[in-house]
């Protein structure tokens, strides 16, 4: 069936139909991203200094080079798309094909860089918040056994599972080597000794849970009827202790309270044994005192932890000196020398800044509400820029040991690290999906467009124009995302 107005314009609108369609779609897309941009501004200016986690300035926590290259890549791809469209207008298939390959290469490069960034945030960059609200940024290192040190390392002797709780999550926290052939012994409700292989744990648990829930319902029914006999009737069988020695490298997110001999999991499983080590080893990249009042900043526990590790107070002294220099510079911009409360959150200072004592910069640092900008050209401005991919540039990294009981929050730079990271992943993730969607449409025109080109080249040109409009919109969104996420 011939669909009208694919090539020729409708008389009333003056446009071919697909064009109106794509513009209506883009209008809805403007609303979608508009809502998210609105949410971004709302969250950012609604952040309460000293109460919420500080909103970081992009240059301090992002790989600016990655955002910059991706901006150029998208701009290049936008140029390639319009050239591909012009090639179709000129009826040159080969030229069209070459430009289109360029577009797809750009989209692949964009996504590859994005993936690298995400991976780096999720696996190499962590924040450790201490009880006094200091936030230490860095990379949590692995111990000599290859276990990341934010895990609670525990030698378990037994584990008590509760059939009224969640499916036991401890099994996934047992190291791979210990898992093979692990068999628990336990006593069933008749008092017989039985064995349970780890691999059968989930199905065994579900069977017992069904039975336990039935027993509980029976007991309640009998109690309601007054037929429950304390002597004769057995209490529901809701807990079993599984015995076997095994190692746990427990994620702190799965564990509630704990002490030297007990780990209480959120799913109501209780492990008994011995706590081996609960110290986080952090390669320090940044010290963020934005949530600590100025007068308390000289006495935060971070200085003690660093002193224990390095044996010197050099980091503290340099930090405070750099801080004072920044504050002084900002103060000089306000004629009465008083910095407005909203402006002053206290500095977040990257570790490599501290290794240059004040006066050695050849410039002045500044601070204005948010962390100060990087100073000299060529300097790696961002923490991740300086510390991604194992390039630790400055060679002064301090590794500190942090007892977990002194921490209140340990996280990677994923969405849970704060509202900034949450909105960053939401917006760039949604934008990334648009890049993939746009690339798939354009790839379809490249791979399957030849037949249409031979039959009706103007029709293909219109299709590419419509696909290109979407592509330009994706570029347009990134034009705003780059400065607000990576620089401001």
């Amino acid at each position: 069936m011939e669909i009208p107005y694919e090539v020729t314009a409708r008389r009333d609108t003056g446009l071919y139909n697909a064009k109106i369609g794509v513009w209506l779609f883009l209008a809805s897309e403007v609303m979608l991203f508009g809502g998210l941009f609105s949410a971004y501004v709302f969250l950012r200016i609604g952040t309460q200094p000293g109460i919420d986690n500080p909103w970081p300035q992009g240059v301090h926590v992002q790989m600016v080079w990655a955002g910059f290259i991706n901006t150029l890549v998208l701009i290049a791809s936008s140029v390639f798309v319009v050239f591909a469209w012009v090639a179709l207008k000129e009826r040159k298939w080969n030229v069209f094909r070459n430009w289109m390959v360029g577009v797809l290469a750009c989209s692949g490069m964009f996504m590859a860089i994005k993936a690298y960034e995400y991976n780096s945030k999720l696996t190499k960059h962590h924040d450790v918040k201490l009880a006094d609200n200091t936030i230490l940024g860095g990379t949590i290192l692995k111990n000599e056994d290859g276990v990341r040190t934010d895990r609670i390392r525990f030698d378990a002797e037994s584990v008590t599972v509760d059939f009224t709780g969640g499916i036991p999550g401890f099994a996934s926290q047992i190291p791979e080597d210990d898992r093979d052939g692990l068999v628990f012994s336990y006593e069933d409700r008749e008092g017989n000794q039985r064995e349970l292989a780890l691999d059968d744990l989930d199905s065994w648990f579900m069977d017992h849970r069904r039975q336990a829930l039935r027993d509980i319902a029976d007991k309640r029914a009998k109690q309601r009827d007054g037929t429950w006999d304390k002597e004769k009737d057995r209490d529901p069988f809701t807990k079993v202790t599984l015995n076997a020695p095994f190692r746990l490298n427990a994620s702190p997110r799965k564990v509630g309270t704990r002490d030297e001999t007990t780990l209480n999991f959120h799913d109501r499983t209780v492990a008994k044994g011995k706590l081996v080590d609960d110290t986080i080893t952090l390669e320090l990249h940044s010290i963020n005192l934005q949530m600590v009042p100025l007068q308390d900043q000289e006495n935060v526990m971070a200085w003690k932890l660093i002193h224990d590790s390095t044996g010197s107070d050099e980091v503290k002294e340099n930090f405070l000196a750099v801080r004072d220099e920044k504050l002084e510079l900002v103060r000089s911009y306000f004629h009465d020398g008083v910095i407005p409360v909203k402006t002053l959150q206290g500095p977040m200072i990257n570790y490599h800044d501290i290794h240059e004592k004040p006066g050695e910069h050849g410039h002045a640092h500044g601070d204005h509400g948010e962390p100060a900008k990087e100073a000299h050209p060529g300097d790696h401005g961002s923490e991740e820029a300086a510390h991604a991919d194992g390039d630790h540039g400055h060679g002064h990294d301090v590794v500190i040991e942090i007892p977990r009981d002194q921490t209140t929050f340990v996280t990677n730079h994923g969405p849970r690290a704060g509202t900034y990271y949450a909105i960053y992943f939401t917006m760039t993730g949604l934008h990334g999906l648009h890049v993939i969607g746009g690339a798939l449409v354009l790839a379809y025109f490249l791979l399957f467009g030849k037949r249409l080109f031979l039959k009706n080249p103007e029709h293909l040109a219109n299709r590419v124009e419509v696909g290109g409009l979407f592509w330009h919109f994706v570029d347009l969104v990134w034009i705003f995302l780059f400065p607000i996420m990576y620089l401001m």
Binding site: L43, H363, L476, P483
Partner: protein
């Protein structure tokens, strides 16, 4: 829409020029956010930097919309669609005022104090 070879040739020139302009403006944005000598206003991030950064972003997006997306010579219906969208978009941006004035908390506090 352009169809003659001359028009297409002039289009190509415009696309190249816009592409280069966008690249240059991106470098300027980066310099503003990254390098100290370009740090205007109070040292560090302040409203001067934010305003300049967003103005540049608006210029860049206008170039993309006008030239790449052909909005410099489009049919009236599309402008009408976009005008409609723009009004709703402004509405979304007005929501931000809730964070400035904090009326939700104020209303909440008023109710709470009237109850106590």
């Amino acid at each position: 829409m352009a169809t003659t070879p001359e028009e297409l040739a002039s289009h190509k020139k415009a696309y190249t020029a816009v592409g280069i302009s966008l690249g240059v403006l991106t470098v300027v944005t980066l310099a503003l956010g990254y390098w100290h000598p370009f740090d205007l206003g109070v040292p560090g991030l302040d409203w001067t930097d934010i305003t300049i950064g967003l103005v540049i972003a608006c210029v860049k997006s206008s170039l993309v919309a006008l030239i790449f997306m052909h909005l410099n010579h489009e049919r009236g219906l599309i402008y009408k669609i976009l005008l409609f969208t723009f009004c709703f978009f402004l509405g979304l941006m007005v929501l931000i005022l809730f964070a400035w004035g904090n009326p939700i908390h104020e209303a909440f506090d008023a109710v709470r104090s009237s109850l106590s």
